[in-house]
Symmetry: C2
Subunit: 177 residues, 2 copies
């Protein structure tokens, strides 16, 4: 679908900004600016099929604490599962003996490249949380039913937590959890 | 949660990049880079409670056509509903007499600010699509059941289409669609 020339114009810890010129088939030359974000792992630690853990975390973007699943950027050299295990341990102190990836998706179809992997973590063991010095995190045990209600009411409002909870709800109702 | 100084360091049609310095309560000064994306409306045009329209669209980010819901950035001065009506008309040629917002959410809890509104559009009327000159779009009629299967198989893999379809599936099974 045409040749491309590219140019990274801004680079930061969690993302790059690229300006890319595409020559479209009908001769139009179009410049796209694309944000490439580092891939993310999101974790749903399940206590049993009806209860799970979320975190209440202060988010500068919203200026308040929000309820969401533990998550973080995958480090260089890590697989998405490595990143999931590390983030779960750092943010919650939990470790899990059983891991399953339930979905991989892209946050956006254009402008922003951001790949997300969501995992279920079971057979949990409590350890000590090791949050980054700028993180302010509280572990919250919640029923799946209550969490899904908070999606429907808008109290839970970030995409990866919404997708994970809707998939868990669907699996539970289909006796597949 | 501390004072902030801010600086827009890159500005483009669909997003800005901001560097923001936060003074955290325990005296740590931390710089965040944040992408502010223009808000988006996503539309699910329903033919009836079992069938809907998606679009097959070439996406430079993936180098291929992907199946997704009609969507687009909200223009200055538009409400999210105005943007939804315009994008539906431009991308599919469809108009709808009945509109309902089913969810609003944020694509991300950190790094990227991107607000999304998802609408159901019913009582459809066919007009003429007016895609942008760089858009390459094909309208696809599909059953809700088939679309949800494509979410579970990974064939549908962008977040707003996944969230809309999982909510439609949930509403249909609860006789609320």
């Amino acid at each position: 679908m045409g040749k491309a020339t590219t140019n990274i114009i801004y680079s930061q810890k969690f993302f790059d900004v690229e300006e890319r010129n595409f020559l479209l088939p009908h001769g139009i030359n179009k410049k796209y600016s694309i944000v490439h974000r580092r891939p993310i792992s999101v974790i749903f630690p399940l206590e049993d099929d009806k209860n799970l853990y979320l975190i209440l975390q202060y988010r500068h973007l919203f200026g308040k604490r929000i309820l969401e699943a533990p998550a973080g950027h995958i480090d260089n050299g890590e697989t998405s599962l490595d990143g999931a295990k590390r983030e779960l341990r750092e943010e919650t102190g939990l470790e899990a003996r059983s891991w399953k990836k339930i979905i991989e998706y892209d946050s956006s179809g254009s402008v922003i490249e951001s790949h997300v992997s969501i995992f279920l973590a079971r057979n949990l063991k409590r350890g000590t949380a090791l949050p980054e010095d700028y993180e302010d995190i509280k572990l919250i045990k919640i029923s799946l039913e209550e969490a899904v209600k908070k999606v429907m009411s808008g109290e839970i409002s970030t995409s990866s937590t919404i997708i994970g909870l809707l998939l868990l709800d669907k699996a539970y109702k289909e006796n597949k959890l």
